[in-house]
């Protein structure tokens, strides 16, 4: 049978999704007597709650109950979080609101229409407090405090020194430095959050159906907040999730809220978040201020980096934050060989929506300043930016490469990837294009970026938020375990159960491909079950759909679980055939002798024996065929006492070249071409791979050009609809050309690495580099996003005014 791993096979998921038979959270049906929830939310960024009057609302026909923050206190405690600052984060405001959109009261009613009628009748009296939204101002002495008992707005602060930073800066010919600001933006899956919660008093158990996709470490965070044993919180994830890109990890405060409300009102409850709620109060990426300094030699070689990172985690720090600061810790120096590194990392709180996972998590915040400063180094030294990147790229022979901060890059050929990108974009001919554009009155620019794409997070990396001393006092954390279960029923049919809770990445398809190859069964005959049930599935604290972990970890678990089944089948056959196990293999549904193909035993019969005739099995063998494999990579070790940590398992590579034209009159930017080269190791399904890359790239393009969760200086939220929160649509997409090189990972059994987040990380940087290059004649510096025409026009205008002033 033809091998299907690595083939661009079409997806098994598509049939149901194209005919309206998908099973998303809002499609799965509800228990009898389920009521619907609407949430009253704060209209103030920062205020004390003086009183809440629900009496009029309760009078409405169809309203079953209303729950306020104070009401839930007997049933919940604050969510635990991985920092030492004692932040009390509840799923609903208790006595103070800290961001616009924070839940203040929950109405339970017969349907959503009535629930919203009741919202209008609730009267809340607030006493407004001074809000703070600016990252750096939040650190000032007299800044308003969000959490008075903490004494500052700092949730986490750590400083790291790797190598000989001071010496590098002394040795340098030049220090190139700048401050960058990466804005707050989101992912906005077209399906919003949704859940059905039911409390059963007799067993004190909560059962939740939700489009939560992990990390499942948060299951215990939720159980802790609900003050119940973790096996009394059963979370069931439906077969289909309508996109997430990380954001749906943030469903968990609402899961706890709905759970408690179900208990208090005494009926199952359903909540489907609406779009305004999603934009204002779900979760978002983290906005960051970065001060970056590079110590460079005249030839462009970077000797060392200093970075001060200030992450704005919003009104409350909540799991998995401050992970945005640390997810990319091991790859802080990107694709470059920079042995000396200093990082001063802060997570601070302001009156904005709390943050969480989002595609690229930490990568875009890191690479925007890093890749911008690489270009700036070239500008200041009057070198070709391509040459500066070449000078600093890690060389092929350096792999596995240990980074300054403890990362172990498993494999790669960065120079080859980068040169391929330059060839694709015809970099040598770029000056001609610049001239052509000039003739048409346009400014042409080219941007380059090289980034490392981490995947498969090490569960230990987040503990780097604590000092080595603080870490020493608790259980060390490591690994990145993922589980898969494969069973063969009495008729020899295969079910595969995965715990990677996909939201469109095609895990069912790729799992079927892998199992097909290992067991020699046509993939169409394999049933893959992607629903996850924390009470019955095999899962780990690392399970879930984040950090591109399927290709590196999920697929490995499936691969090894399939091998366990294979081994058992061969064992059974060997016993019955009285043959040597090593001589047997699987071919076309049979277990066959390699030496003499006439000796064979059908797989169906082997499976049948295991179920129908267990007494015929070899001594000591368990009946049935139901094999689970937990896979973890050995390289995911806990951080050491010097704060060295390998924060991810595999590290892919992305090289981008982008060309743009800017209209100097209106400031409009047109992206002409986007060339991108990926090395994600062995590709499991190229069709799905390219789909992931296009999606991730366009999300990155959105961050570069359009998307921002905007607040005014008083903390009012301004982008509460899709008319103001601008997602890229089809006409905004430039020509995109993708090419691959495949340097297999030595760490994973299939040689695959994660992918799909790389261009989300690189696009903001490379597009900004291209636009900055176009505006080079004006001497402007792009240091924030998105690149709206107004922003570009302002920069051009300021430059013209400056020029004018200089001439005078």
């Amino acid at each position: 049978m033809e091998k299907v791993i690595g083939q661009a096979v079409t997806r098994v998921e598509d049939g149901r999704l194209l005919t309206g038979q998908g099973k998303y959270i809002d499609d799965i049906g509800t228990p009898a007597n389920t009521a619907h929830i609407a949430i009253l939310r704060s209209t103030y960024p920062h205020a004390k709650i003086i009183s809440i009057d629900t009496s009029e609302a309760l009078k409405l026909r169809g309203v079953k109950g209303i729950v306020t923050g104070k009401d839930i206190l007997p049933y919940v405690q604050p969510f635990s979080v991985g920092v030492s600052a004692p932040v009390k984060y509840y799923p609903m405001a208790i006595d103070k609101v800290r961001y616009v959109g924070e839940p203040v009261a929950v109405v339970v009613a017969k349907n959503r229409y009535i629930a919203e009628d009741a919202l209008e009748k609730i009267k809340v009296v607030y006493e407004s407090l001074t809000p703070i939204v600016d990252i750096e101002k939040s650190l000032e002495e007299d800044a308003p405090l969000l959490h008075e008992h903490i004494g500052s707005n700092i949730a986490n602060h750590r400083t790291f020194h790797y190598g000989k930073v001071d010496e590098a800066f002394e040795e340098a010919d030049r220090i190139v430095k700048h401050k960058f600001h990466f804005p707050k933006y989101s992912a906005t899956p077209v399906e919003t959050y949704g859940m059905i919660a039911q409390y059963e008093e007799s067993s004190n158990q909560y059962t939740i159906h939700a489009n939560f996709h992990g990390p499942f470490v948060i299951q215990s965070v939720m159980a802790g907040a609900l003050k119940i044993p973790s096996n009394r919180l059963r979370i069931i994830v439906p077969k289909d999730i309508g996109g997430s890109y990380g954001i749906k990890a943030g469903t968990y405060p609402y899961i706890v809220l709905c759970a408690v409300v179900s208990r208090m009102v005494g009926c199952p409850v359903k909540w489907i978040e609406d779009r305004q709620e999603h934009l204002s109060a779900s979760s978002s990426g983290t906005d960051r201020v970065t001060y970056i300094e590079a110590a460079v030699k005249e030839d462009g070689k970077v000797l060392g980096l200093k970075m001060k990172l200030i992450d704005n985690v919003g009104a409350y720090i909540r799991a998995p934050e401050p992970a945005c600061l640390y997810r990319t810790h091991a790859n802080s120096t990107g694709a470059y060989d920079i042995p000396n590194l200093m990082i001063d990392a802060y997570a601070i709180m302001t009156n904005k929506l709390p943050t969480g996972l989002i595609r690229g998590y930490g990568g875009q915040e890191l690479y925007f300043p890093l890749e911008r400063i690489m270009q700036e180094i070239a500008h200041q030294l009057q070198l070709d930016p391509a040459d500066v990147l070449r000078r600093n790229l890690i060389k092929k022979e350096q792999f596995p490469y240990q980074t300054a901060s403890g990362g172990i890059y498993d494999s790669g050929d960065y120079e080859k990837g980068f040169e391929l990108a330059l060839d694709m974009g015809n970099y040598k001919e770029i000056e001609q294009k610049r001239e052509d554009a000039r003739q048409r009155g346009k400014l042409f620019g080219v941007g380059l970026a090289c980034i490392v794409e981490p995947s498969g997070s090490n569960m230990g990396y987040i503990t780097i938020a604590l000092t080595p001393e603080e870490r020493a006092s608790s259980l060390p954390k490591s690994g990145c375990a993922e589980a898969a279960t494969i069973s063969m029923d009495p008729m020899g049919c295969v079910n595969v159960r995965i715990s990677t809770t996909p939201s469109g990445q095609g895990h069912e398809t790729v799992s079927a491909q892998i199992v097909s190859d290992v067991l020699g069964i046509p993939r169409e005959q394999i049933n893959v079950v992607a629903e996850l049930d924390t009470s019955t599935s095999a899962w780990s604290i690392a399970s879930g759909s984040y950090s591109s972990r399927f290709a590196s970890l999920g697929s490995s678990a499936v691969f090894y679980a399939a091998h366990k089944v294979r081994k058992k089948l061969i064992k059974i056959a060997a016993y019955h055939l009285q043959a040597d196990e090593d001589d047997l293999t699987i071919e076309n549904g049979s277990i066959v002798s390699k030496k003499d193909p006439s000796i064979k035993y059908s797989m169906k019969r082997a499976a049948g024996s295991a179920h129908w005739n267990p007494l015929s099995l070899p001594d000591g063998m368990e009946p049935g065929i139901y094999e689970t494999y937990y896979y973890t990579a050995k390289v995911a070790e806990p951080p050491d006492e010097n704060d060295l940590v390998n924060s991810s398992v595999t590290y892919g590579f992305v090289a981008d070249m982008v060309t743009v034209e800017v209209d100097p009159d209106t400031g409009e930017v047109q992206i002409i071409d986007y060339f991108t080269v990926h090395d994600a190791g062995k590709l499991l399904n190229p069709l799905i791979v390219d789909g992931q890359i296009y999606g991730g790239l366009v999300h990155g393009l959105g961050g570069a050009m359009y998307e921002e969760l905007a607040y005014d200086e008083k903390g009012q939220f301004l982008t509460g609809s899709f008319m103001d929160y601008l997602c890229p649509t089809a006409p905004e997409i430039p020509n995109i050309t993708i090419k691959h090189i495949e340097t297999p990972s030595p760490l994973t059994p299939l040689g695959a690495k994660g992918l799909g987040e790389g261009n989300t990380m690189s696009a903001p940087a490379v597009i900004a580099n291209a636009v900055n290059d176009a505006l080079k004649p004006y001497g402007v510096m792009i240091d924030t996003l998105p690149l709206s025409p107004n922003r570009i026009w302002n920069l051009l205008n300021q430059a013209k005014e400056k020029k004018g002033a200089n001439q005078v």
Binding site: T43, E120, K123, V125, Y126, Q276, S280, M723
Partner: protein, 151 residues
């Protein structure tokens, strides 16, 4: 949002001042104000229906007159809570004697709008706020004229 403006009132200083502080006149001039009840000195409760065309929200509001400097200036503080969100607006109103029949009124305002209106209506918010405030003074000017006529 903030802004400023000025207009010439066709009345003397004293008369302008008296009328500016008259709650009946306030009620007539504030857009969508159906009822104004005094709760304490210089503090009123009102139900306001503010908005434009079909986009209107009802707000339960307090209107407060503060920092009174007789015949010179005062501060008007309007706070409202309603379905579409909350409004907090502060206006400082100055009067300046021109001649017996003319008084120069100048004002500055700061308005904060929160909740749904700000979240989805930011595109027109500052324009509409300006409009509502201009409407207030326009009506006020008219009121003065009417009183003049009837006097």
């Amino acid at each position: 949002m903030n802004g400023e403006g000025s207009l010439t009132l066709e009345a003397g200083l004293q008369q302008s001042w008296d009328i500016l502080l008259d709650p009946n006149v306030l009620q007539k001039c504030i857009m969508g104000c159906n009822k104004l009840t005094q709760v304490e000195e210089n503090k009123y409760k009102a139900e306001l229906a503010i908005g434009i065309a079909a986009v209107k929200g009802k707000y339960e509001s307090t209107i407060e007159i503060a920092d009174i400097e007789n015949l010179k200036s005062y501060k008007l503080i309007v706070k409202g809570e309603g379905g579409p969100g909350n409004v907090e607006a502060t206006g400082v109103i100055h009067l300046e004697h021109q001649d017996e029949n003319q008084t120069l009124l100048s004002y500055t305002y700061e308005a904060e709008v929160g909740g749904k209106v700000a979240m989805v209506g930011q595109r027109m918010l500052s324009g509409v706020a300006k409009l509502i405030i201009q409407d207030f003074f326009k009506k006020f000017g008219k009121e003065l004229k009417n009183i003049e006529k009837s006097a």
